[in-house]
């Protein structure tokens, strides 16, 4: 009678199948046409007719597909966590101001190099500096949010403070843009488009570690998350340590969203839309079911978006952030129109 994960076994098998298909599709398509047989040969260590094909698959497309999978899954999880923690269907990983923090870090690095010169300019030389700047930015915002969490009981206040951080960083970025030259500005804008490609295997390892830690924290909070669906007072009456739970959930979100933004830039809408899409098909609010489900759905959606973004058979690549917004926004509108109400 009581539904458990077992009830949803077929759903999970279908999702895993879809994930495999989109993953292979993503790797097979790109600006260079590679026959599907050669793709498999490259993936499974066989011989390819052209060495460049093997290189494109193993060193470029495979890391990109893995990044898409992790970024999609991770952002979707942090969206789910935020929606339940704030009990607000519009919450996403970026409401905490994490992406604003990352943007500020990167803006200070790139644009600040023009304005302040010297020190920042030298930093730019390193390939890792963008990643470090954005991670540092997210982390500082996280510290501020955590400090607020300890002082203020009201979760809605945290939400508002996240939004305020967003406004402040937006303003600082605008000021920096005004004073910087066209070349630097373009570099910053390209970062803000988001990019799944050009990841080193080293970077992917760090991404996987962030993803693993975030997911584990989320998994261990799932029972508390379920009780939070009733509201804070009910959750407390069920024996939940509210403060501890809030800190763990915010930490998990920050590690997931912060880490992903650091490597892939800000990617919009996945965190907001995927939990809603998932709830459409998994008619449950149980986080032990929803958690693996949003990972799979997020991975599938971002792989699809990336497949579209790389405009197969042409030499152009569209910014991934634009594609996720183009697909994500109509999906949210469609859900709203269909159900007349956005529930979480």
């Amino acid at each position: 009678m009581i539904r458990t994960s077992q009830t949803y076994r077929t759903y999970f098998i279908v999702l895993l199948f879809l994930l495999t298909v989109t993953f292979l599709l993503n790797i097979s398509l790109g600006s260079v046409q590679i026959p599907i047989g050669e793709v498999f040969a490259a993936l499974f260590g066989g011989e390819t007719s052209k060495e460049t094909w093997r290189f494109i698959i193993v060193e470029y497309r495979l890391p990109k597909a893995i990044t898409a999978l992790i970024a999609g899954g991770g952002l979707a999880v942090s969206g789910l966590l935020m929606q339940t923690l704030f009990r607000n269907p519009l919450a996403g990983p970026f409401v905490l101001g994490l992406s604003s923090g990352a943007s500020l870090g990167v803006a200070l690095l790139i644009l600040g190099a023009g304005v302040f010169g010297g020190f920042f300019g030298n930093l730019l030389a390193s390939q890792w500096s963008l990643v470090i700047a954005s991670a540092l930015g997210s982390f500082l915002v996280l510290l501020a949010v955590l400090a607020v969490t300890f002082r203020i009981k009201d979760t809605m206040a945290i939400l508002i403070i996240g939004l305020m951080f967003g406004s402040v960083t937006g303003a600082v970025v605008a000021v920096l843009s005004y004073f910087s030259n066209a070349e630097k500005l373009q570099q910053f804008i390209f970062w803000s488009f988001g990019s799944l490609g050009n990841q080193s295997w080293q970077g992917i390892l760090i991404l996987v570690i962030c993803f693993g830690i975030g997911l584990l924290l989320a998994l261990f909070s799932s029972k508390s998350l379920n009780s939070l669906l009733l509201g804070e007072n009910y959750a407390k009456s069920l024996g939940i340590h509210l403060k501890r739970t809030t800190v763990i959930i915010i930490l998990a979100t920050s590690i997931l969203a912060g880490g992903i933004t650091a490597f892939a830039g800000p990617i919009a809408f996945i965190g907001l839309a995927v939990p809603h899409i998932t709830r459409q098909y998994f008619t449950t609010s149980n986080h032990f079911v929803l958690l693996p489900a949003v990972v799979l759905c997020g991975g599938i959606l971002l792989l699809l978006c990336d497949t579209v973004a790389q405009l197969p058979f042409t030499e152009y690549t569209l910014p991934i952030n634009a594609i996720t917004s183009l697909i994500g926004a109509p999906v949210v509108i469609w859900l709203l129109v269909r159900k007349r109400k956005l529930l979480f």
């Binding site: 009990r87 009733l230 009456s237 069920l238 024996g239 709830r279 609010s285």
Partner: protein, 264 residues
């Protein structure tokens, strides 16, 4: 009136409730004394703003008492860990569940959280407790409905079922009959009466349905501007407590019918 062999579930001695801030403490009500027995239905009555909700929140451990002591099942309330308290006391609040997307079954199952493992897996015992709670509140046929599809009356029954599933000796309900029509108000209060008798749980509820509460409660806690009285409804009527509940020039209490009427 409490004979010594009766099992006392909830006890307050010289309790004062209110809000404490760094600079000062605001007392809402004080000199609260009562002893509530096992298996009784107790109504809490009083005018708006007199501190019913504050008292219930204090008793439920949601806010600290300003002074005095509270004992739940023989132990001081502040000595319980949150998890222990969750097995002694369950609540039904005026607020609806934050997520209305939950199915009724999921909502009621959450009542078992204090007993389940870290994954919240339900054992056979848990499922029995949930099924019993659903049977007692007549919510079994709603099991697969979503909370947003329910009427106010159905939602209140589901909320009570969740508290029952939590299987605690004391259930506290804050105004369980608001937003309900006369039939559902009577239905909910009769249900509470039946539950107190059959399950031997102690049920404390605040209400503005004083006429109904007088007819159904085993004892009543009446908060008037001057004092807080705890006794059986009969004795409270005899002592004229209900006359002091509201300003006497507007509303009067008729002791023979047990009803309030507007004075012209």
């Amino acid at each position: 009136m409490a004979s010594e062999e009766k099992h006392i579930i909830l006890e307050a001695n010289h309790l004062a409730t209110g809000y404490q801030s760094k600079r000062k403490s605001t007392v809402i009500s004080e000199h609260i004394n009562f002893r509530i027995e096992k298996g009784t239905l107790v109504g809490l009555a009083g005018a708006n703003g007199i501190g019913k909700s504050t008292l219930l929140r204090t008793l439920a451990g949601m806010q600290p008492a300003l002074s005095g002591t509270m004992k739940l099942d023989g132990t001081y309330i502040e000595d319980f860990t949150p998890l222990q308290l969750a097995t002694k006391l369950s609540i039904v609040l005026t607020e609806p569940p934050a997520s209305k997307n939950m199915s009724v079954e999921e909502f009621i199952s959450l009542g078992r959280q204090p007993y389940t493992n870290w994954m919240g897996s339900l054992t056979d015992d848990d499922i029995t407790a949930i099924t019993n709670a659903m049977n007692a509140t007549d919510t079994l046929k709603l099991a697969n409905r979503r909370c947003y599809e329910l009427s106010d009356g159905q939602l209140q029954r589901v909320a009570i079922a969740r508290a029952l599933a939590q299987d605690t000796p004391l259930i506290i309900l804050d105004e369980p009959t608001t937003h309900l029509d006369l039939y559902h108000r009577a239905y909910i209060l009769k249900l509470l009466k039946k539950l107190a008798k059959e399950t031997q749980k102690t049920i404390l509820f605040s209400t503005h349905e004083i006429d109904l509460a007088i007819q159904l409660s085993d004892a009543m806690l009446v908060m008037t501007p001057h004092a807080i009285h705890f006794d059986t409804p009969c004795r409270l009527i005899k002592s004229g407590t209900f006359n002091t509940l509201f300003p006497e020039d507007t509303i009067g209490f008729d002791a023979t019918t047990g009803r309030f009427s507007i004075k012209n």
